[in-house]
């Protein structure tokens, strides 16, 4: 999957211009960056949730704009940030809708559809509360139900826009563990926007750092999580240490870079 010279924005306001990015199959790619850097915009543009002003997105070599919307939905699933459903909808009913792009004549669910739904519920650990309405679930359970919806789509590629927002730390890790497991066991290609750099460094194979609509760093977490990048992109000074268990970099911020300091050359 690749984006070539894309220009995307909201209405007339252009957020990203002439940006290119290639997503590698079988990897977890994390898009990170400060607020307003365009990380969510890039994800939405690549997932055709935002219309491109110019440029092209390719999915398995095919131009996205030339594919039928339902054909895209069979290859690429996307979970937007903080999605909402009718309060009384049950988890099972929500997940069933992931089969919409696969539905046959009369939109009836067939055997393979029920199989995919059951599998999505099992993988996300939501089978036991399939009949509970979404409003009665905890934040983490609800987010797992939404991920189950995208899994029922049975696509090789999954896009997640800030899947951990509004969740407490335990539930955040629960969701990220699930993402890691889907990548390892199902071989899914995953692209996600994340706010937390340490979580991105821990779970992603590749981090793409955006700032003001451009990619400023791109590579394995150990290459990208450097003092220099953090200072340039987030205006913070931080110690970078390596987690002895995972070998992944972790940053410990200790100061904000003030503009005058930069000016005085301190």
């Amino acid at each position: 999957m690749a984006a070539e010279n894309v220009r995307v924005g909201y209405g007339e306001k252009i957020i990203l211009s002439e940006l290119s990015l290639e997503i590698r199959r079988g990897e977890i790619t994390a898009l990170v960056g400060p607020n307003g850097s365009g990380k969510s915009t890039l994800l939405k543009g690549m997932a055709r949730l935002l219309k491109l002003h110019s440029g092209t997105v390719f999915l398995e070599g095919e131009e996205l704009t030339k594919m039928a919307n339902s054909e895209i939905a069979r290859r690429l699933a996307v979970l937007p940030q903080a999605p909402t459903a009718p309060a009384g909808l049950t988890v099972g009913e929500l997940v069933e809708q992931g089969r919409y792009p696969h539905a046959g004549p009369m939109r009836m669910l067939r055997k393979q559809d029920h199989e995919a739904i059951g599998r999505a519920l099992e993988l996300t650990g939501t089978l036991e509360f399939a009949n509970r309405p979404l409003e009665n679930l905890s934040g983490g359970e609800r987010q797992r139900a939404w991920i189950a919806l995208t899994l029922a789509q049975a696509t090789p590629v999954l896009f997640l826009d800030e899947p951990t927002t509004f969740l407490d730390i335990g539930h955040q890790l629960e969701v990220l563990e699930l993402v890691g497991q889907l990548n390892r066991e199902q071989g899914m290609t995953i692209v996600m926007v994340l706010h937390d750099l340490n979580q991105a460094a821990q779970y992603a194979h590749r981090m793409v750092v955006l700032r003001k609509g451009s990619i400023v760093a791109d590579g394995a977490p150990a290459e990208v999580m450097t003092g220099e990048v953090l200072e340039k992109v987030f205006n913070i000074k931080a110690h970078i240490v390596t987690d002895p268990a995972s070998g992944r970099p972790v940053f410990l911020p200790y100061a904000v870079v003030k503009n005058e300091e930069v000016g005085r050359g301190q």
Partner: protein
């Protein structure tokens, strides 16, 4: 099927999904409501200045020998009126359920989105200025549909600017509806001859609805109802928000416009026949939601049946208490307005 390979297959995932209790009770509830409609219809036909026992009603309906006079009352007056009530109820309930689903707004319904008022004004103008468009004539629903589409679309687009707020849609709809209704009232002042008829229309009435009305209405129901029920899956995806629906392969704008048109078609043709019977298209779907949940594949058919029952019951009450002197729209408003307020207060509290 029994091509055993010797390896015990893992239990299929599909078999692990627990059965949905809401789905399990859907069919029994639907059948119960349909039966209730039949029973109520028989009691309803028996009600009036000449009251008939259920036995007499059934005898007249199945063409058993009965007094000619009774047969005339049943077949020429009360039965068609009851059928119009059932059909109109189903159409308004379905329209309300669709509007609530595609706008993701629990306060949406034909009357609260201005669709009814638009259809009424277009019909009233049509009758006043185009003489061939007699009330209840076969061409009238087309005129009403045009009015419903224009006003409904206006309210929808007005309410979509900026952050969409459920209350905003209802406010815009009520405001525009009030303006349009005063327009209808002005026509009424200039057309004294038909004034009484037009007033009844603003409120919504089943008085004097006979076979000619039913015959104008049923083709619209025959097209609109199956179309609406067939789009339940589509409505479901729209109910998850634009981004999720797009992700599921939906062409969101086109799907919403199509469903909106179906809802307006159902509501406008019903309004062309009986006038703007209020609140019924709001209450019916809400009761149905309580019964069978939010999944449109069950909610839509249930709303049609529950609202049909509700309208028949309302007209039954009107007939029983006021001997038919009050229009049915008066009682649905009387019962519906407090319910509407309750919905708003519940929202404000949440």
């Amino acid at each position: 099927m029994s091509l055993s390979t010797g390896v015990a297959p893992e239990k299929p995932f599909a078999e692990k999904i627990p059965a949905n209790p809401l789905a399990r009770r859907f069919l029994p509830l639907l059948v119960a409501c349909l039966l209730a409609i039949v029973v109520l219809l028989i009691l309803y036909i028996g009600l009036g200045t000449v009251s008939l026992s259920p036995g007499e009603v059934i005898a007249a309906l199945v063409n058993q020998p009965v007094e000619t006079f009774h047969r005339q009352i049943v077949w020429d007056l009360r039965f068609p009126r009851g059928l119009v009530a059932i059909l109109v109820g189903a159409m308004l309930g379905l329209a309300g359920a669709i509007l609530q689903t595609i706008t993701r707004n629990p306060l949406a319904s034909p009357d609260l989105t201005g669709v009814s008022a638009g259809a009424v004004l277009a019909s009233v103008l049509g009758i006043a200025f185009i003489p061939p468009l007699a009330a209840g004539g076969p061409a009238l629903p087309f005129v009403a549909l045009a009015g419903g589409v224009v006003v409904g679309a206006t309210v929808y687009f007005l309410s979509r600017q900026g952050r969409s707020d459920p209350l905003r849609l209802a406010l815009n709809g009520i405001l525009l509806g009030a303006i349009l209704n005063s327009g209808s009232s002005i026509v009424l002042i200039f057309d004294q001859e038909r004034a009484a008829n037009i007033v009844l229309w603003l409120i919504g009435s089943l008085n004097g609805r006979v076979w000619s009305h039913f015959n104008t209405l049923w083709p619209w129901a025959l097209v609109g109802i199956p179309l609406a029920l067939g789009c339940a899956g589509l409505a479901n995806t729209l109910n998850l928000g634009d981004d999720v629906a797009t992700g599921l392969g939906q062409n969101v704008e086109r799907a919403r416009a199509g469903l909106f048109f179906i809802a307006v078609l159902l509501a406008s043709s019903a309004v062309a026949i009986v006038g703007a019977i209020g609140f019924i298209g709001l209450i019916g779907p809400h009761i149905s939601r309580r019964l069978v949940g939010d999944d449109a594949r069950r909610l839509l058919p249930m709303s049609a049946v529950v609202t049909a029952l509700l309208l028949l019951l309302s007209d039954f009450i009107v007939q029983a208490i006021t001997k038919g002197s009050l229009p049915v729209g008066a009682i649905t408003a009387l019962l519906g307005a407090p319910f509407f307020l309750y919905l708003i207060f519940r929202r404000v509290k949440a």
